[in-house]
Symmetry: C2
Subunit: 204 residues, 2 copies
């Protein structure tokens, strides 16, 4: 993981450390949990839907709660890794905001089931794991925060309260409720439109 320096809590499983089979299990389980709720879906059913069967499934997962935890952390870990990479490779504050914006909207569009599960079932996780999920969200926010501070240091951006940054990120995250990945406007276009909102909000 490239985010070690940011992550204060235990790092969550990243897609990069996950086998293709496990990744498929996460996707299938996220789809089932999103459609019918965590408590409404049994391990047998996940075994059938993945084509693995219950026995082989247990070779890849240890419990349904582990699966829930990995679903709620894997996409966030990837998002953090991607954000970190944009932070390091793009130094222009405006272009960087545009790249972060696009990457975030595309990740949300690709992970609607995972986000639905995360928002709806977060309380089903143990306290410790819930804190780990929240910590990943803070790590992601820290990337935007550093990017905005950098833009301030360069005189491009103005200072904004942390609640405004939380609000701006909420604009993206809340979209999982209305975003239609097959809709007329694709995620990249929405990302560009949202980047414009952020840039207008932070421009000096």
């Amino acid at each position: 993981m490239t985010t070690e320096s940011l992550t204060q809590s235990q790092p969550a499983t990243s897609h990069r450390q996950v086998s293709p089979t496990r990744l498929k299990i996460l996707q299938v389980a996220a789809g089932l949990f999103a459609a019918r709720g965590f408590s409404g879906v049994g391990v047998n059913e996940i075994g059938e839907a993945t084509g693995l069967g219950r026995g082989a499934l247990y070779y890849h997962i240890s419990s349904k709660e582990d699966l829930l935890y990995d679903i709620t952390t894997a996409y966030m870990s990837d998002l953090i890794a991607e954000g970190q990479s944009i932070l390091e490779s793009e130094s222009d504050p405006t272009l960087r905001t545009q790249k972060l914006s696009r990457a975030l909207m595309m990740a949300i569009s690709e992970h609607l089931s995972e986000m639905t599960v995360c928002f709806r079932e977060l309380h089903a996780l143990t306290d410790e794991r819930r804190r780990a999920v929240m910590s990943l969200h803070s790590d992601y926010q820290a990337i935007w925060s550093r990017s905005l501070s950098d833009g301030m240091a360069k005189g491009t951006f103005r200072p904004i309260p942390s609640t405004v940054l939380k609000g701006l990120l909420g604009m993206y995250f809340y979209s999982f409720l209305w975003l239609d990945p097959r809709g007329p406007q694709n995620a990249a276009d929405i990302g560009d439109a949202f980047a414009e909102v952020v840039l207008r909000a932070v421009r000096a």
Copy 2:
């Protein structure tokens, strides 16, 4: 209700039509559902927590699902009525945006339990009722949309895509996840800061 002209679907119960006892039941039940999930809370417990007991409780509610529906619609109906009133009483586009912004953040701050329940348990409602909740959200968005159109007609605002309006409203709604009503920044202040984001986004 002052929102009849906007509401295309059946109007939901408004607080104005609700007795103080029923209002208390809604608040207590929302708190219990938010803390432990809809399925984790029994009618007996709601009866005890309200001090009414199971028998008297059933005098005020017909079922737990009815309660869930009223929790998810009552605060939205109030928000629509308040938004409609601001739309009618304030004609200056900038001042109106500031008033809508403040009213929305204050409503969110006052109804964190209701919003938690709404986002987490929406799938527990029947299809028809879920559509009614979604319809209330559209009605509320229509108020902002009319306010922005009016500002455009006056030359104060620029046209924005509907996804940007959805994003801007998401900035507010998503805050129920991080807002601390006892935090250093109160809801009115955050509403003012968010109004500034909206105004920067829409200013011609």
